[in-house]
């Protein structure tokens, strides 16, 4: 029981102590004005217990190390103080005014924030900056507490680039150099740089690089220098690209303060493990200019020569043809796109076989790339292969250069076997069903050979023949009209017709009448009437007598009065031939006979 009370009292005491304490959370820097690349430390210190530390954004600065957390507890005169410190080592990227934002932390559920710190970054001296900037991060070896400043003066890695302002595709050499003034016992490569955005290749092929040491004086201090890694880079896109740092871990031997006489005499040293990183280098990559960029530009940057040749100039269709295009020079040879070619469309072409021969002599990429095009002309004819064109950008003159080969003339003879190549709609013409084995035979008959240019249709003759029918019809129409006009009066027509017949038969009688020969006249009249009847009734003249006439006329339904009249007239004429008659003139008899004939004509 007592024990419990004791523990409780202690805890309460602790709590009172904590509450009594004035908890502060501050951010501090050594100085607010720094040079570009100069490294400095920002520490967020809390005296008390806190949790969930949230770091501010360090815009404009690069975090070289951190957060490094240290806790300490001091007990002075019975009052115990705890403090937590989160520290960062930063370096400024560029000059200007920057603000280190507030860091935040939870203490007993309450959020605490630091005050933002305004930093003024000035342009630093390059050498100074270089040297200061190089040892960026030091992780303290677990055993030994080694301050960064201690080692950085004596051991650092520097990334040396030959240019920082290049065109896209222009070669850059990066040399990671180790500067040291201390003895290195061990070294180990932690991390090879990623080199994002670059096409990279080691300048030395040898796997195990032989380190050559030389001495170099930097700012009046003599260092042993060795090239760790040499890399050739080609920026793949424009913009500010960063060459990643190279990380290495070294174990170095350091002088240690002597603790006793013996150590003083023999010299005291300790082995320290140091992690080093090189400083990242920003390369400003300019895009290739748009002005004057050739259409077929394939990304070649450097200086090149073009050489093209063809193995044959005359061949048969369907035979193979080789076109070799060789690009020689220094630059990003392995990064070319395929050369744009313009072969005749009837050439079957295959993707070129590409052979690179690259040398890295003297740290420059040079060599040649060979494109081997296989072409197969499919049809006979004389073809011209357009000149092969190759464009590159020369960064030295900042100009595009277009190289051109001479055009090639190919004479293609007719091949042994014609292969159908569908140039238009490939492979979608359906197989034609077998119609027959051969063409149809010539026409032997019905040839209708005509002289050329005698097109019948549309000719004058054609139209004349065409009009023949209608013209005939019109003629017929006119004829019918005329005919109708003349036949309109039926009586007149009939009398004209009848008198014509009568006149024909009575012609002799009329002649006698004019000569006043009465006997002859009546005889002629008699004969005329008989003749007419014989003709009309189709009875031979010899068989004709009054009874026959009357009978026949009756059978033809001639009126009785007319028959009587006819018989009277015939009797009268018969009588008048032998005896003179009176009371009726010869003319009257003639008219009577004529009328009678007309009447008979009407009735039959």
């Amino acid at each position: 029981m007592n024990k419990k009370l004791y523990i409780l009292s202690v805890l309460l005491l602790w709590a009172s102590v904590l509450f009594a304490q004035n908890t502060t959370f501050t951010a501090a820097v050594a100085k607010t004005e720094v040079a570009v690349g100069e490294q400095f430390e920002v520490a967020f210190t809390l005296n008390g217990n806190g949790e969930r530390f949230a770091a501010p954004g360090f815009g404009g600065f690069q975090i070289l190390s951190g957060p490094n957390v240290s806790t300490s507890m001091t007990s002075i005169n019975g009052s115990t103080t705890t403090s937590i410190s989160y520290s960062y080592i930063l370096a400024a990227d560029r000059e200007g005014d920057f603000v280190i934002g507030p860091g935040s932390l939870y203490v007993n559920g309450h959020i605490m924030v630091t005050r933002p710190i305004r930093m003024h970054v000035v342009k630093g001296q390059p050498q100074r900056q270089m040297r200061r900037g190089v040892p960026q991060q030091q992780q303290q070896a677990p055993i030994e507490q080694v301050s960064a400043a201690d080692v950085s003066k004596n051991l650092f890695i520097k990334a040396v680039v030959d240019k920082t302002n290049v065109y896209q595709g222009e070669q850059i050499n990066v040399n990671y150099r180790l500067y040291t003034r201390v003895g290195i016992l061990e070294n180990q490569l932690d991390k090879l740089p990623d080199l994002n955005g670059f096409w990279s290749q080691d300048a030395n092929d040898k796997k195990q690089m032989q380190v050559v040491w030389r001495t170099e004086v930097v700012n009046g201090t003599k260092y042993n220098v060795a090239d760790i890694k040499q890399t050739i880079l080609f920026p793949e896109h424009s913009g500010n690209l960063t060459i990643d740092p190279l990380g290495m871990t070294f174990v170095v031997r350091q002088q240690a303060p002597a603790r006793d006489v013996m150590e003083q005499f023999f010299g005291s040293f300790k082995d320290v493990k140091v992690k080093l990183k090189s400083q990242p280098v920003t390369i400003h990559v300019k895009p290739l200019p748009y002005a004057g960029k050739p259409v077929d530009f394939g990304g070649a940057v450097g200086t090149f020569k073009l050489d093209a040749n063809m193995d044959k100039t005359a061949l048969k269709a369907n035979e193979a043809l080789n076109l070799n295009v060789r690009v020689t020079g220094a630059g990003n040879i392995m990064l070319f796109k395929t050369i744009s070619t313009n072969f005749p469309l009837d050439f079957e072409k295959y993707d070129p076989k590409v052979t690179d021969t690259i040398s890295k002599e003297g740290g420059r990429i040079s060599g040649n790339r060979l494109y081997n095009y296989l072409l197969i002309p499919r049809h006979e004819g004389k073809y011209t292969v357009d000149p092969i064109k190759f464009s590159y950008f020369n960064p030295a003159t900042e100009r595009y250069v277009t190289l051109s080969s001479k055009p090639f003339h190919v004479d293609v003879a007719k091949g042994d076997k014609e292969v159908n190549v569908s140039a238009l709609s490939p492979a979608d013409k359906q197989d034609v069903k077998i119609l027959d084995k051969d063409i149809r035979y010539i026409k032997n008959t019905n040839k209708n050979l005509n002289k050329l240019g005698n097109e019948f249709f549309g000719s004058v003759g054609y139209y004349l023949l065409l009009l023949l029918g209608p013209v005939l019809f019109i003629g017929a129409l006119f004829y019918r009209k005329w005919h109708q006009r003349h036949n309109s009066d039926m009586v007149k027509v009939r009398s004209r017709k009848a008198s014509k017949i009568a006149a024909r038969h009575l012609a002799n009688a009329k002649k006698e009448l004019t000569t006043k020969n009465a006997k002859g006249y009546y005889e002629a009249l008699f004969k005329g009437i008989y003749g007419y009847l014989s003709y009309k009734l189709n009875i031979p003249y010899a068989n004709l007598d009054k009874e026959t006439i009357a009978e026949t006329l009756r059978s033809k339904s001639v009126s009785e009065t007319l028959i009587t009249q006819l018989q009277d007239t015939l009797d009268f004429c018969d009588m008048a031939r032998f005896a003179p008659v009176s009371g009726i003139s010869e003319q009257e008899v003639f008219d009577k006979a004529k009328n009678m004939i007309n009447d008979i004509e009407d009735e039959i």
Partner: protein, 249 residues
Amino acid sequence: MKYKHFLYLLIFLISPLLSFANKDLMADAQYAKGQYKEARVSYQALLNEGYQSAALYFNMGNACYKLDDIPSAILYYEKARHLSPADEDINFNIRFANQKTTDKIDEAPEFFLNKWWHGFILMFSLSTLSILSIVFIFLSSLVLIGYLFTRSVVLKKTSFYISIVLFAIGLVFIFMGNRQSAYFDSHKQAIVFTSTVTVKSSPASAAKTLFVIHEGTKVDVLETISNRIKIKLANGSEGWIGAGDVKEI
């Protein structure tokens, strides 16, 4: 003595006729014997003399085909088709010869009304149509004349209607002939004779190449600008080529 002169005159008049008949028979005989080269020369001689007929062109095309000169064969077949559009032999041989050409062109499907229309106006050859139209118009006139002069009412009615029908048929034939002639006049076609022709997008020779056609392909000639012609393929593709690369049908 007199009839002798007359005989000479007769021989003088008939001999050219006989000569073409002879040549024609000779050519046919040569073809039958398989002497295609000679037959072709003989047919060519006839053509040079200015004779033409569907059969002559057809036979010439056959001779060319046998000599493996496909473009010429197609050209002569097409000429024969102009004179006799509905001839099955000619159309068959055109199809057959087209199988031997390099370019496989899918004909763009023709609108069915268009197809019917062309089938209709190309049903008879132009000479057949002209004769038919004359005959029908003439018959119609004769029947109409009969109508004028007959007295029977029944005959009059019948003849009138028959005449109208005949006249209408005659008019249709004239119309068909007219359309056919216009079709061939407006529808200029040509056969490619150069083994490979690159078709450009404009008359300038520096123009972009659109596609490539080969000998034997039939193209529609749309327009001509100084030695360059605009062509259209059966599948609807258009472009410009040199006028010298083709021979017009």
